[in-house]
Symmetry: C2
Subunit: 361 residues, 2 copies
């Protein structure tokens, strides 16, 4: 059958090699006679899978030992509460930068636990750019500074890491661009990322946290929302999402085989450049996002004539180009081109878009 | 290769047919060109998977429409906090029955949110029986009554459903015996069950809740810990653990093909009877649990001579009988024989145990 390219914003494409290996090992992992799904999380087989995943991630990102790697459940949405519940550490305020719909959700949840200072926002003009840091108003009493490195819906992405004041930890929701480029973990207090975009299947959220920030959760924090509990138990306080960890571990190994994060950045840049250049080369398509802040992962665009939207989607699907419909809140189209999307997929999309524009212009 | 029987307490064996189907569909689900792991949770393909899973469960258990079925994350441990955070509904007390280590964990977490009345406990004599309801001391001001229908570690199981006072909802942790026998859902206000024993892979927790109980969470409850949020969004408020829901849906279809819950009860009774009769027939083995309260799912037993434990486990493993080591807190052995364990597996275990006893008695 024809190769399908799936531009879903998440859950999203996984590397073919990873799915092939999962297929091959489904009934019998390494001669154990068991599927990974059937393994006790405390047995030697799964322990080795989890340890390998952690070790491979440490190598890929070069994570020092004083950062803990946690494999948790609940997605990034759980972190919107866990971050304030754990990182306020006696303070009552936190800085948030509002650059899109996911930032806004994080802010809304944080307001249940502290006074949020919105240090900067691009909400008024529809989240189409990222305010430069010289325009931010940070609160000197903030417990931490939170931002969202890539906005899946709005298609804006930080191409730079914000500066944080002395001892104010920088916290980032990196769900949709983690491992898409090299990452200097030492700039951050805490990174979190739902797995279902660049890491693996839904149902897993990765947290990387500097260990000195742990241990003072708000009163009333559920035990499962206390990072320290998970850190002390190496993510095995309760049964972890074992199969999602296994698949994510296979993705880490795949990333290493691709040459690591520097190599991924090159491919991701090539993919994004190709697509944005194509969009910008005609007024048949339009991307509203400021060029300097455009996401390499999620490319939103509109057709000049929205009456053609349905036809565009229908013909795209007939060509094996799936899930291009934009988020319902912004309309138009969106192509999500995470790590697992090969350059070929973007080339095919661009060829289709050019042909469609030629026909209907 | 030789057939393996995996007696893990969870994650645990899954039906071979289910794993075979997951294997066959891994790279291309129903001609979609996608793995289920790659599907947008809001796309038509996954929506049909989730709806089918819900519908099949409704049929299997005969769940009326005023009960909501929720597919959540965080395992049963998340429910230890979610239950009090949602079901206190203005009250400050709750009744708990303490019949094992999982009951005790639920109680410990509930104490963060309310005054727990331990209505009955078998802790003093090591959780080897279930106190009859005539010995329970219920608090007239309790918001709900919580118990654990099967204790995975201690091997005690309720063979009856407790009576609850007027309008006091009965809440049960059914993680390790759900769908192992017919279930009268109308007796309960809320049922929860981690998936990784009788339902599917780790990373999913099933909640079935009477809808009139929802809507008044404690202040400070994280949005993701509010049942009402998930009920209103049909478990799609945030990205659900899609692959775990898919596998669990395959297990529901497998259960229907087996003849449903009445048929499962027959098989489970046969398996448990065979194993307990074998243990009781010799003083080489011993099960400490009172006969009336013995679990059909988790069978703990000890060897008269604990010096033989390692040899027993080693020889069992050589015979393809895996994960028989008892929980570290109780020692000895434990055979978990959930729905997916075929009668043949128990027969093979019993034959091995008899031969081992003959040799070393």
């Amino acid at each position: 059958m024809e190769t399908i390219y799936n531009f879903s914003a998440g859950p999203a494409m996984l590397p073919k090699e990873v799915l092939q290996q999962a297929h091959d090992e489904m009934l019998d992992w390494h001669g154990s006679g068991m599927s990974v799904m059937e393994m006790s999380h405390r047995g030697k087989e799964f322990m080795s899978i989890a340890e390998n995943a952690q070790q491979d991630l440490r190598e890929l990102v070069n994570i020092p030992q004083h950062y803990k790697i946690l494999f948790l459940q609940g997605g990034a949405s759980s972190q919107f509460a866990m971050v304030p519940m754990n990182l306020l550490r006696g303070k009552t305020k936190a800085d948030y930068v509002n650059t899109g719909q996911w930032s806004a959700k994080a802010i809304e949840e944080a307001r249940r636990y502290c006074t949020v200072n919105v240090a900067a926002s691009s909400a008024e003009i529809g989240f189409i750019y990222i305010p430069g840091q010289n325009q931010w108003h940070l609160d000197p009493e903030a417990a931490y500074l939170h931002y969202t490195s890539n906005e899946t819906i709005d298609g804006v992405e930080f191409q730079w890491i914000p500066e944080s004041r002395d001892n104010i930890p920088l916290v980032v929701d990196m769900s949709s661009d983690i491992l898409s480029r090299p990452l200097d973990i030492t700039r951050f207090g805490l990174i979190y990322a739902g797995a279902q975009k660049n890491l693996g299947p839904a149902g897993l959220v990765l947290v990387i946290v500097r260990e000195d920030l742990l241990g003072t959760p708000l009163p009333g924090t559920p035990t499962l929302f206390d990072y320290q509990v998970h850190a002390r138990n190496n993510s095995m306080y309760n049964t972890p999402p074992t199969y999602a960890i296994y698949i994510t571990g296979l993705v880490f190994k795949w990333l290493k085989r691709q040459g690591g994060l520097a190599a991924m950045e090159k491919i991701n840049l090539a993919k994004a450049d190709l697509l944005y250049r194509s969009i910008d080369s005609t007024d048949f398509y339009h991307c509203p996002v400021a060029k300097a802040d455009r996401s390499r992962m999620n490319v939103p665009f509109t057709l000049k004539n929205p009456a053609l939207d349905d036809e565009f989607l229908k013909q795209a699907e007939m060509n094996g180009l799936l899930q291009l419909k934009g988020h319902r809140s912004v309309g138009g189209m969106r192509a999500s081109i995470y790590n697992a999307m090969p350059l070929k997929g973007v080339e095919k999309l661009v060829a289709f878009m050019n042909a469609f524009a030629d026909r209907y212009a």
